[in-house]
Subunit: 406 residues, 4 copies
Amino acid sequence: MFERSIISQGHLIDSGIMSRILNLIIDEKADYKIIDFTIGKKQDEISYLEILLICDSAEKLNSVTEKLVLLGAWEKGAAEPLLKTADRDGAVPPDFYSTSNHRTEIYYQGDWHKVSKQRMDAMIRKTSAGFECIKLRDVRKGDLILCGSDSVRLFPPDAERQSEGFGFMTNDVSSERSDNIAVRKVAETLEEMKAQGKKAVVVAGPVVVHTGGAGALAALIREGYIQGFLGGNAIAVHDLESQFYGTSLGVDLTTGKPTHGGHFHHMRAINKINTYGSISAAIKAGEIKAGLMYEVVKSGIPYCLAGSIRDDGPLPETVMDMIEAQNRYSEIIKGTDMLLMLSTMLHSIGAGNMTPSWVKTICVDINPAVVTKLSDRGTGQAVGIVSDVGLFLRTLANQMGLVYGD
Amino acid sequence: MFERSIISQGHLIDSGIMSRILNLIIDEKADYKIIDFTIGKKQDEISYLEILLICDSAEKLNSVTEKLVLLGAWEKGAAEPLLKTADRDGAVPPDFYSTSNHRTEIYYQGDWHKVSKQRMDAMIRKTSAGFECIKLRDVRKGDLILCGSDSVRLFPPDAERQSEGFGFMTNDVSSERSDNIAVRKVAETLEEMKAQGKKAVVVAGPVVVHTGGAGALAALIREGYIQGFLGGNAIAVHDLESQFYGTSLGVDLTTGKPTHGGHFHHMRAINKINTYGSISAAIKAGEIKAGLMYEVVKSGIPYCLAGSIRDDGPLPETVMDMIEAQNRYSEIIKGTDMLLMLSTMLHSIGAGNMTPSWVKTICVDINPAVVTKLSDRGTGQAVGIVSDVGLFLRTLANQMGLVYGD
Amino acid sequence: MFERSIISQGHLIDSGIMSRILNLIIDEKADYKIIDFTIGKKQDEISYLEILLICDSAEKLNSVTEKLVLLGAWEKGAAEPLLKTADRDGAVPPDFYSTSNHRTEIYYQGDWHKVSKQRMDAMIRKTSAGFECIKLRDVRKGDLILCGSDSVRLFPPDAERQSEGFGFMTNDVSSERSDNIAVRKVAETLEEMKAQGKKAVVVAGPVVVHTGGAGALAALIREGYIQGFLGGNAIAVHDLESQFYGTSLGVDLTTGKPTHGGHFHHMRAINKINTYGSISAAIKAGEIKAGLMYEVVKSGIPYCLAGSIRDDGPLPETVMDMIEAQNRYSEIIKGTDMLLMLSTMLHSIGAGNMTPSWVKTICVDINPAVVTKLSDRGTGQAVGIVSDVGLFLRTLANQMGLVYGD
Amino acid sequence: MFERSIISQGHLIDSGIMSRILNLIIDEKADYKIIDFTIGKKQDEISYLEILLICDSAEKLNSVTEKLVLLGAWEKGAAEPLLKTADRDGAVPPDFYSTSNHRTEIYYQGDWHKVSKQRMDAMIRKTSAGFECIKLRDVRKGDLILCGSDSVRLFPPDAERQSEGFGFMTNDVSSERSDNIAVRKVAETLEEMKAQGKKAVVVAGPVVVHTGGAGALAALIREGYIQGFLGGNAIAVHDLESQFYGTSLGVDLTTGKPTHGGHFHHMRAINKINTYGSISAAIKAGEIKAGLMYEVVKSGIPYCLAGSIRDDGPLPETVMDMIEAQNRYSEIIKGTDMLLMLSTMLHSIGAGNMTPSWVKTICVDINPAVVTKLSDRGTGQAVGIVSDVGLFLRTLANQMGLVYGD
């Protein structure tokens, strides 16, 4: 085995830095032994940690050390810096050290030296005056450039240490991620859950219909991936409207254009159901032959449409007493292993309130603020996917090989 | 032919209402003859329009009349109202009239009567006192309900008449639309343009790479759908980073997770290119074998990477003098028939500034405010698609039958 | 008087361009006489309009003509172009013509000539080959630059003509406006309405409390500016929580920091009210002495707290039956002259549904998409103010000279 | 002193839970002594922590214990539960225990019992079958309700322990905060920094002008609170446009309305400066007498306007070579103690790249995604204020007693 003594000093416990050091080593599939650990009892007393880092190769030892340096740890009896010469302007040896924006020191001739002109994404150049940050484009042939990180130690500010460390794209909710990966993960999870007989409940808003995702969601339900359906009056009304008239809130779902007089459609859809007395009566009468509500009713999974102050109609199925609606939601959520929230903040917060934190919770919304709000309301376990919910559901159904109408 | 005289009165020209009446008739594939038109010379003089509406069926005549009523027109010598009886609680005859929120009058016994309790999505009930709005759920068996719209006239407020009329979902930029339709239209347009030898130019931001859309865009370029490529330093850097290290800004594009130390990658990618001296030299050396920049360079289409205050590096290809960058952008845009803007506000506004208004301009962004901003900066012809750009490009490439790597 | 003949030709009615020409003249406090107007009966027949523009000064005549040119009109028997010489590099005479991105023609030697290199924000230079767009920085001493707009005509694309014309910042909802102006207008409107005995109703969400605006809103109610209050369970709970514990959803309203265990507070607040039986009983008992709900109850204005699927508790006052809640909302809205919507999409859409379109409707929200959504749901009369609602209310109260606690 | 032994067990280090326990005690101004601490060496070995909690009052001892319970710690030799009887329906004793959504156990008759029907914001009722969550409204007179938290222990999922614990509103960036508090803190910080001779640098975008904040920012500069100014071409152009014509991008800053032909104004403003040769020449000539750029130039603080691909003109002062612009930015940022970023993502990321992480960094933007993006680009120290920048600056200047024109 290859071993190296690593030291970290400072507010290791209260800043969480000790956790992050040990976690990183485990994540990297390396090992450690704690040599010395003195804990600071109060906020103004610093802690001291010395560990033996154990790796199965010299390369691993170097790469893990490099990452520990980013957390403010350093090698005991640090090595003298590895300085290599740039052999052309604007380019450096490939193992160069790339800076963060944290205060940086280099171990050199037996002592630690502060790096000047600190900034991120720079190289470190050795000059006669000491060490300094230099931009790649300013490097000149012959410059002495720091390589590797054995001789580096960092001083992240406390806030940084507690939260993120230095890094890019570490926020959990961002519209700059590949939704494709998210789709694949959700598909795998749904397949697995079905195979294991687990329970998945969907909470969905009318945007699912407006953005053309209702068919794909209907297919998921038809194929037995979903064991409960929660929504409001609107998602059912617009699904029915689309079945009857091909529009959603008056917008033609094939052309994407508002139809003249199309805003009548949702009231006509409600009236038609009222004439039959219920959605299931209209299905029995052969009036509805496909779509989201059709599959919900046909599949026999429990569902609840919770009313709200903004509802038209409502449909006979919509529960307008909120006490009763909360009770029914709660009944359907009981024992669920996953909640899939699809573009409805209101019903998602409602469902989140009654769901234990150990339930896997996924929230798809085009607005990143929705996930922040869910978490601010206590549903901290929610994982956000910032995406158009229609494209998301269609891509998901394609990925899972499901057939659905347009 | 079936004909009917229609009257409209008011600020027909300045409110734009006359345009909307005539356009609606043409849109509905009906015809008209102008019988009388007196134009109000000043703002306080009203205009009077009488037209003969001509349709090829009685049904069409009724449906077009119904829509004209929504614009505040009415039948000359309006018909007495068609009142039908509700034959159960909470449901009405299927040809019921559904209200808007505008002031409404009913022609009854030779005169116009104002409807009370005005609100949207209601029915109109005849009582002994006159006409009133009533919610569907409050309708009782035996109520007299207004059907059809022959006896209705509306008074939209001026602002409404000028802009939208009454309707839902008439805003052009909204995240509540079906992106699927948008994808289909863009696909058809690109196919057509290629067949006709037209020119399409792409302006793209780094989010294309982060969200996993670079492969799909590369396929569009490889297959000859794109004749010019505009971007900044970042999209090229992250595309190269993904080719060299499988990450984009340090995030693993397969797992979606930040990699420890991954924030080094983009600087390493720049350094590698600097070592070769240029992207095309690195391609010639066999260092880059696929990806967006690979296809851009291989295809020989003109491209420009415009620098900015936030660039690292930059790459040797990035033009850091903005005067020169604007000139090159302008050169590439010259004669283009379409601009496809992919999630970069900065470069899109830049490109929009130099593009004539008759160029078809499409802007894909997950943030609806970007299209508003483009239009506020003078590029009013831009059509917005609110979507995750990665999913959008992948769905587009799938739709067009293109093969692309993950 | 000063007069000039102006011509416009094309799809004047269906594009709305005629409306915009006549409106512009009236807006500019000039006058017109219609000399000739031939209307195109069908979409492929163009209309012809000739008007006599009448102004009270030669300057006015020039400035109005200049603006009409932007709408695609031109002077009959257009003047030869006014060409002036640039007397230094990069600067032009102050009355230069600044281009739009629309196709542009110049009347020169008796005929119309197309301008080449069309782009926005450029100057027009006369060369031996004709007229071309040139960027300000590319102008050289001695260049012949077009001044004034007497010899210019424009061809906006149809979509442009229908909607905006060329211009910046013409979208109604944008976060790039001065909220200060909006505050002043709302203040004036409220003062006026109070003086005239008109009715204003507020619909408010819990963000009003979280962002520190509750005190200012309470002052508006106390001073008699508001005649009805609509909300949900949460705004009342958090207002009470802030009165009892100084926190809103556990966040200290003085320091902005979450308090340890503060998430208990809202449940404790509900329990305290439940112990008294109602908010007004708690006020009578001296338990609540200030705040939003205090002023609502004290003032005696009608109010309704509508429940929802996400409510905790709820408070005894919260109406959990949505049929009843809609009825109460509707009762309170009846006869109102203004609806002020404060950061609650759910309750705003609900209130909007039951409000006639002639009611002045103002919607304050930090998210511009909320106003788009309101309008997509039929409440097209809503005017949006994109702002932090807390700062908005405090600035409003300051502007109106109202005293309020922190 | 009052003391109590507290135990916590589990992945205390890697989950960061130990840090949070010790920090909470210090935050609460209590004290502790570590009695026993056994650290788990590997991920599958759990750690054991026993501390003596020391408080100066029995009340404090109870309240701190209650909060420690939320972190999954419990009292050594836990007390039997305090069960009190509800003396009316729907209300409970004021010291009731309010649940989180985490798995919960109660110490009862010498053993730990799991609570059933787990959900957040509920009470815990003792029934013959054990303990269960019950909603406040379902509590009936006579129910036995758990009070205090001495007998409670929680099991937050690992992700929760690492990040947030249970709580509301713990996200750093949210539009649901009181900006008023933020204004006060920024005001205090600026006053303090000025008193101590520290350096503050502003990075500002054109929205500052559009939203009416330029006068307030100018006052801050005039009064010596700002030691460096960074921006782009647009903020300077629009400030000058507003000085010359009273508009910003053609919008009248007093009425908020677009002016006919107002889009000429920004080009006219650039042309006027070009005629003088520079902003400072125009100031010397008496052409500019107030405003943002006037104060920037008058105060003599260093400034840089960095060009971009989207600039019109540009102004003579705008640096169009990005290498040079980055160098000047970097020079101005050197040694700064604070960066105040005002609604410009581009320049903020640029400035952030060259700024060490120990510089206090504040970012004001109406779009919460901007702060997320800054942090994803490595500037993790940025503190976000989601607000309208115009209202923010005006409120800030008012708070500081500064005089500024409208």
